[in-house]
Assembly symmetry: C2
Homo-oligomer: 124 residues x 2
DNA sequence: CCTCAAATCAGGAATGATTCCTAATACAAT
DNA sequence: ATTGTATTAGGAATCATTCCTGATTTGAGG
């Protein structure tokens, strides 16, 4: 595992939430100023293929990477874009049951309004 | 609703499965030779926003449109790309329960190997 | 029927996230 | 050290999708 790949993994593991490749890149260049965006994409792709990290396709077509590859659902606020993990794993269990034992990857995303955005809307 | 929009909707409703914008475009130009791909995208987007049709983001980042907007899961074969609907709607019900009453859109996708591809692999 | 404003269109250029390419660099093992 | 292999940086290319523009259609009111 190259220095770059280790750094990319560490940045994602240290992050609390979900990051775009560009965000990982911005963090990474603080420690490896010459690292390139292409390398970040390549390493994120490998880590994902190796099952080290997760990848989430957003409704706008771009992706964010997740520090864990555990199958779990996501709630995304259609107003502010905040992404929350669904802790309840019965959803994932059920999907695994339905998809069968050849399931490789899965994605569960629900768009909703987060409590903060609900409040600011109802006030105005 | 314009002639173009009606045609786009009808093509999708008549299709058995899921179509890309390009596929809808190819079908549409048989009846409206001058229709443009941009119009197909625009009309598909409107129909989706109106809740008339569904939209599904594939793992490769492109989209397919669905003749129904009903929330349901999808199984996609990682070998041949075939997309199947998950008929069991308990998944969708549960997701609705978790996401709350502000849920707007949702997407459930699982990648697996379809029976056909399992067979052809185990034979070879 | 006309007319006019608003909506929609066709066609093509622009966008932007992601991937690909190439020559240069680091690494590991003998 | 030296050879072979993998990885890199940087930038060009890709491609689905969106945006832009001037032309066309629509339909409501006179």
């Amino acid at each position: 595992m190259s220095r770059q790949m280790e750094l990319v993994l560490q940045i994602l593991r240290d992050s609390p939430g979900h990051m775009t490749a560009a965000q990982v890149f911005e963090h990474a260049r603080k420690q490896l100023p010459n690292i390139s965006l292409g390398t970040v994409y390549r390493d994120l792709g490998r880590l994902f293929d190796d099952g080290e990290i997760g990848k989430l396709l957003l409704p706008d077509g771009s992706s964010v990477y997740d520090r864990t590859s555990d199958l779990h659902g996501h709630l995304i606020c259609s107003q502010c874009g905040k992404i929350e993990d669904i802790e309840d794993n019965s959803l994932a269990d059920q999907l695994r049951r339905i998809a069968g034992d050849t399931l490789t990857k899965a994605e569960i995303i629900a768009e909703h309004l987060c409590p903060d955005c609900q409040n600011s809307i109802s006030k105005s």
